[in-house]
């Protein structure tokens, strides 16, 4: 649920309707300029297309800017003809030829302008999607090259949000923001120029209102930010409370605290209302105010323009043109006001994406020595390791596991039993010493070759959405149908798979809720059998499997372990006692090692553990 909150950051307001998202606080990038420039490098290869977009935007906008002035000419001509008629000049009439010419030109201009606008958006769609596609591909590839350390120190939700939300945000801005910004600026500049050619005085009147719009927008937006921040904060509190109360519902009920919880909710909700309506109101006022300022200039144009026309300083058509220009003004102004926010949040998103791309990758190298037909002789030589600096976890660890032997790793929950797995698979690098397999240092083998030696069955049974067959076949590329079936049979999974309505073609859904936990384990064992590794890493199920499936799992694991060097994170006493070597772990360290009998004789932690768990005089309440 935490992840969800993180992804709730405001994403650029591209919603429909005017003024949405305006005045909302946005996240800012730490290094705006650097990130911005880096984002530009993605645009570089698409230079030609972008230039085309730019050209189309400029042309499209220019054409749409020119048209009011031309339309004004038609109106002026119309007015002149009318005035003549009005004054009773004989034979006077409206010059229809002239008007028709102008209107035809106008249609042409409108058509061209629309076509340019369409082309521009069409190309931009390609550009934006191209970049986003490349970014996604790049970040995903990067994810496969990041060390596990990266994943262990972050929530999946956080990483996921960077791959999805942040990239989406960038995509939206590229698609709409850039061209919007471009056309807005061109429109404002173009309109000012056009207005100047018609009447400097009227232009001045219009321009007075321009900074006014900006100032009003900025002032109001600033004021609303405070309430938006309050609102965001209380909303966070409210969501937190709902999450807690709903996930802990049975406790709330069992301890009869419904009223308390409701009262607390109502209190937060009231606070939310108080900050919410203020934020809503103040940001909602921006549009009417801009509209008002627009109308002010409209009135001024009508009045001053009217007076000027009577004084014959300008033409009537010029008023018409100015009214249209004033209207064209309003939109780009509010757009530019909101676009700065959008760009801010986009750059912040881009920065988060780049952060991932800049993470240190795992060191990989070609195998210096060939590994073929691994026997599975594993040796730890003076191994030193720590997750964090200056907090040594494993020091001077020595271990010699002969081919085919079983090593049991035991210890209380949270003792760091997965650390050894991490080291064997080279998910983490050693700080000192070395681990060898059949005499070859694992740091001299490529990751691919090393991992081919190992097979892993974890408690956290990972299956992907796909058919059961695909999930088993995951164990080895190019496995035949017969091999899949054999593996499945050896893992005692065949039986239950056949009882499923679609057998091997049963699609496992995302939560894999359509098969039981124990069945999932059998599938992961089948997958490991298929991959036929030389060395095994097993994680025994602690609980939550029904007795019969548990027996199957045990038998399947025994099949799997036969003749292979195995490292077992053990919970079952029989596994522990039969192991060739027991590693006792506590607080991340290997504190004791030896066989069962040796360790019992030592009478330290292991024997305590053993006695307290399995001794006859355990007190049952």
């Amino acid at each position: 649920m935490n992840d969800k909150n993180k992804s709730n950051r405001p994403v650029g307001g591209h919603g429909f309707g005017p003024g949405r998202g305006m005045g909302m606080p946005v996240e800012r990038a730490k290094n705006f300029k650097g990130t911005f420039n880096r984002l530009l490098t993605y645009l570089k290869p698409l230079k030609v297309k972008l230039l085309l977009v730019f050209l189309c935007a400029v042309l499209g906008t220019i054409f749409s800017i020119v048209s009011p002035k031309i339309l004004g000419k038609a109106i002026t001509k119309l007015f002149e003809g009318m005035m003549l008629k009005f004054q009773g000049v004989s034979g006077a009439q409206v010059d229809f030829n002239y008007i028709a010419d102008i209107l035809i030109i106008l249609i042409g201009i409108y058509l061209i302008s629309s076509v340019f606008m369409y082309i521009q958006q069409y190309i931009m769609a390609g550009v934006a999607q191209n970049i986003v596609y490349a970014l996604r591909e790049q970040i995903n590839k990067k994810l496969t090259r990041l060390p596990l350390k990266y994943y262990d120190t972050r929530t999946n939700g956080e990483t996921l949000s960077r791959v999805t939300n942040d990239i989406d945000n960038i995509s939206n801005t590229l698609q709409q923001g850039i061209t919007q910004l471009l056309t807005s600026v061109i429109t404002i500049v173009g309109v000012i120029i056009m207005m100047l050619t018609i009447s400097p005085l009227l232009t001045l009147i219009c321009l007075v209102t321009l900074p006014l719009s900006f100032i009003v927008t900025i002032l109001v937006a600033k004021r609303s930010q405070r309430y938006f921040k309050d609102q965001q904060k209380t909303l966070g509190g409210l969501n937190g409370h709902v999450e807690e109360m709903f996930t802990g519902h049975q406790i709330v009920r069992a301890y009869g605290r419904e009223k308390l919880s409701i009262n607390k909710f109502k209190k937060i909700n009231e606070d939310l209302f108080n900050s919410g309506w203020k934020a809503q109101f103040i940001s909602g006022v921006i549009m009417p105010l801009i509209f008002f300022i627009n109308n002010l200039s409209y009135v001024l144009i009508c009045v001053v323009g009217g007076v000027l026309v009577t004084k014959r300083t300008i033409e009537i058509g010029d008023i018409q043109a100015f009214i249209q220009y004033a209207r064209q003004f309003g939109q780009p102004i509010s757009q530019i006001a909101s676009i700065t926010n959008i760009i801010q949040s986009t750059i912040a998103s881009a920065e988060r994406v780049f952060e991932v791309l800049d993470e240190d990758e795992i060191v990989n190298n070609e195998s210096l020595q060939m590994v073929e037909h691994t026997k599975g002789h594993v040796v730890f030589e003076e191994v030193e390791f720590s997750y964090k600096e200056n907090e040594t976890l494993i020091k001077n660890m020595n271990l010699d596991v002969a081919p085919g032997q079983t090593v049991a790793i035991v210890g209380p929950t949270g003792a760091g039993k997965t650390t050894l797995v991490n080291l064997l698979m080279r998910f983490y690098e050693l700080n000192g010493g070395k681990i060898t397999i059949d005499g070859i240092d694992i740091s001299k083998i490529s990751h691919e070759d090393l991992r081919n030696i190992f097979g892993m069955v974890l408690q956290d049974t990972w299956l992907f959405s796909g058919t059961i067959r695909e999930n088993i076949a995951y164990g080895r590329i190019g496995a035949t149908e017969a091999e899949i079936l054999n593996a499945s049979k050896a893992a005692f999974a065949d039986q239950f798979i056949r009882t499923l309505p679609d057998g091997y073609d049963t699609v496992i859904n995302e939560e894999a809720s359509n098969i039981s936990y124990g069945q999932k384990q059998l599938l992961t064992i089948a997958r490991a059998i298929l991959s036929n590794p030389a060395i095994l890493i097993l994680d025994e199920a602690t609980s939550s499997v029904d007795t019969r499936t548990e027996i199957y799992i045990q038998q399947a694991m025994d099949v799997l372990m036969e003749g292979r060097t195995s490292f077992v994170i053990a919970h079952r006493l029989s596994t522990i006692r039969d192991a060739d070597l027991i590693l006792v772990m506590r607080e991340g360290k290997v504190i004791e090692q030896g066989t069962h009998d040796e360790l019992m004789k030592q009478g330290k932690f292991y024997s305590d553990l053993y006695n307290s768990q399995f001794a006859q005089n355990a007190v049952a309440i």
Partner: protein, 575 residues
């Protein structure tokens, strides 16, 4: 959606105000072109500067009036929509708090959370939009049409041609675009799913060397998404230029036909200019209305999800009988209890009968899906039995007040659920009036005292949401302390010791043995070693009791029990 909108009734007055204000504001906006026409037709044509200035003043007044109206409309609509959000949230939350687990299961906790938070916010936003746009757009459109017709009837015929064309364009583009929008959402979900799977399965993927395979999987999804997104954006690229073109051509047509009418002396130039502005306003309103077609369905989906929650009637309610037992020793009795989850084919519990007495420990053991947790959940009445009876102190729990019943029970769930707040507050949750001494005592028994005193803030240390700042074992011990402080008659432990290491587990159980000597203790367990010394062990298999008795008795009589034991202990250790 409409059903939910009924909650707006309390804001009737404000909504009438909003409509009135928006109406006035629309009038003001529509009146301006009319005044402008006057300036031109009466002022400019006659060269009457004073008239122009007078009308200008009037225009200014109208503009100011308009903005005042729209600011107040904005004020009221902010209050109404936020108020709607608040009221609906209160209603939904209060409603959900009275749900039993059965209703929770029906919708799912995660979904209930989004419905109470995001969905309501979504509807609230839509209502705000409706109040601000949907009211004004039609008013502007209708008002614009009236003014246009009023200005010049014949010329309005142009609109009769143009408006359907514009509507058709919007309709066709959205009809072509919306399926792609939906497809895009699906493909985006698919891409997210691939990434999520890659993140959760990172160790497996690496251990099987399937990075390339995963990259391909991602690229396929990525390409698919990009293609669709490209199509959507290219279709939508047509909308704006298309609309602009139609509007502009409409203006050209208006000017042309207007010229003819002016030539006939049926119309003046100012009227024509006003008419152009009305036409623009009408067309813009139409575009606004079409946006509403996009926004409203989004809100409607959320509204439907909220309504679904509100329509659920909690099944478990207090019975009028409210019988109170004369004794409160805490005797729990199951009599022929059968329970099925809604929609399940097989009952989760079948014909269960047993008695758990004070001073005794009743242990329940069995594999997953055997019904252990279900059985425990029936005692505090999280669910109601399908048939049979559960008695507490001789009275069917359905005839007792829920409060009275739960007052007798201290429940420790499988997953230690703690709340954000101090440790004291969390333990106090078990008993509101608990003194500091009681809290410390409870913590000691739960083997939590030691680690609590190691925290900087001691008992006032704050737990984060979900208590992510302490370990699983610590969470379990606090959740046990919370139960102990309650001094209840009945203790229910649902596999509550799983995250404890063996030593702590042992100490805790010895301490509990003393503390709960007079209580009825029912405990669900996975480990045989936990239950071996219980006074009564009940063995569940597929919802049926397949054996009950002491460890020794069961070893002789119960096959399933022996199977469980042999899978966990070595032969020589069996008594």
């Amino acid at each position: 959606m409409i059903k939910l909108l009924k909650t707006l009734k309390v804001y009737k007055l404000q909504i009438v105000f909003i409509i009135l204000l928006v109406f006035l504001q629309s009038l003001a906006d529509l009146y301006l072109p009319r005044l402008m026409a006057n300036i031109i037709d009466n002022g400019v044509v006659k060269g009457d500067i004073n008239y122009i200035i007078d009308i200008g003043k009037l225009m200014l007044l109208v503009t100011v009036g308009g903005v005042i109206c729209s600011v107040f409309a904005s004020y009221f609509s902010a209050k109404v929509s936020s108020g709607f959000g608040r009221n609906t949230r209160n209603k939904v939350f209060t409603h959900v708090e009275n749900f039993s687990l059965q209703e929770f299961d029906k919708i799912g906790t995660a979904s209930l959370i989004t419905r109470t938070t995001n969905d309501i916010t979504q509807v609230q936003n839509v209502i705000n939009m409706i109040l601000r746009m949907m009211i004004s757009a039609p008013l502007m459109a209708i008002g614009g049409i009236i003014m246009a017709v009023n200005q010049d009837k014949e010329l309005s015929l142009v609109l009769v041609f143009v408006l359907p064309i514009l509507a058709a364009l919007i309709f066709f583009v959205s009809r072509k675009g919306i399926p792609y929008f939906n497809a895009m959402q699906v493909k985006l979900d698919k891409l997210n799913q691939v990434v999520r799977e890659q993140l959760t399965g990172i160790r497996v993927i690496r251990s099987f060397n399937r990075d390339d395979y995963e990259i391909n999987r991602f690229n396929t999804a990525n390409l698919d998404l990009t293609d669709t997104a490209l199509k959507v954006n290219r279709i939508m690229a047509f909308l704006m230029p298309g609309m602009m073109l139609i509007m502009n051509i409409a203006i050209v047509a208006i000017v042309w036909f207007g010229s003819i009418r002016i030539d006939n002396m049926s119309m003046q130039v100012g009227d024509l200019m006003a008419f152009i502005q009305y036409a623009m306003q009408i067309m813009m309103s139409l575009v606004m209305v079409s946006f509403m077609f996009v926004i409203v369905p989004r809100g409607a989906v959320s509204a439907a999800r909220i309504n679904e929650v509100l329509e659920i009637k909690p099944i478990i309610k207090d019975n009028e009988l409210n019988k109170e037992s004369t004794n409160d020793n805490g005797v729990v009795e199951f009599k022929n209890v059968t329970f099925s989850y809604p929609g399940a084919e097989k009952p989760a519990l079948n014909n269960i009968s047993f008695v758990a007495k004070p001073g005794e420990t009743t242990a329940i053991i069995g594999g997953t899906g055997s019904g252990k947790t279900t059985l425990i959940n029936l005692i505090p009445r999280f669910y109601d039995v399908s048939s049979g009876n559960v008695f507490v102190d001789g009275i069917d729990i359905r005839e007792q007040k829920q409060d009275t019943l739960r007052q007798k029970i201290a429940y420790v769930p499988q997953k230690a659920l703690l709340f954000s707040g101090s440790i004291t507050e969390n333990i106090k949750y078990g008993k509101e009036t608990a003194t500091d001494e009681e809290i410390q005592q409870a913590a000691k028994i739960a083997q939590a005292y030691e680690f609590i005193s190691e925290f900087d803030g001691n008992f006032s240390s704050k737990l984060s949401q979900g208590a992510t700042n302490i370990s699983g074992g610590q969470k379990q011990r606090l959740s046990i302390a919370r139960a102990i402080v309650r001094h209840a008659k009945i203790y229910l432990f649902d596999d509550s010791f799983s995250a404890l290491d063996y030593k702590t587990d042992g100490n805790l159980r010895s301490a509990l043995k003393l503390e709960l000597a007079n209580s009825t203790v029912i405990i669900v367990a996975q480990r045989v070693s936990t239950v071996m010394n219980a006074d009564q062990i009940i063995v569940l298999d597929n919802g049926v009791i397949v054996g009950s008795g002491t460890h020794k008795e069961l070893m002789d009589t119960c096959e399933v029990y022996r199977e469980i034991v042999s899978s966990q202990l070595l032969k020589e250790e069996l008594a």
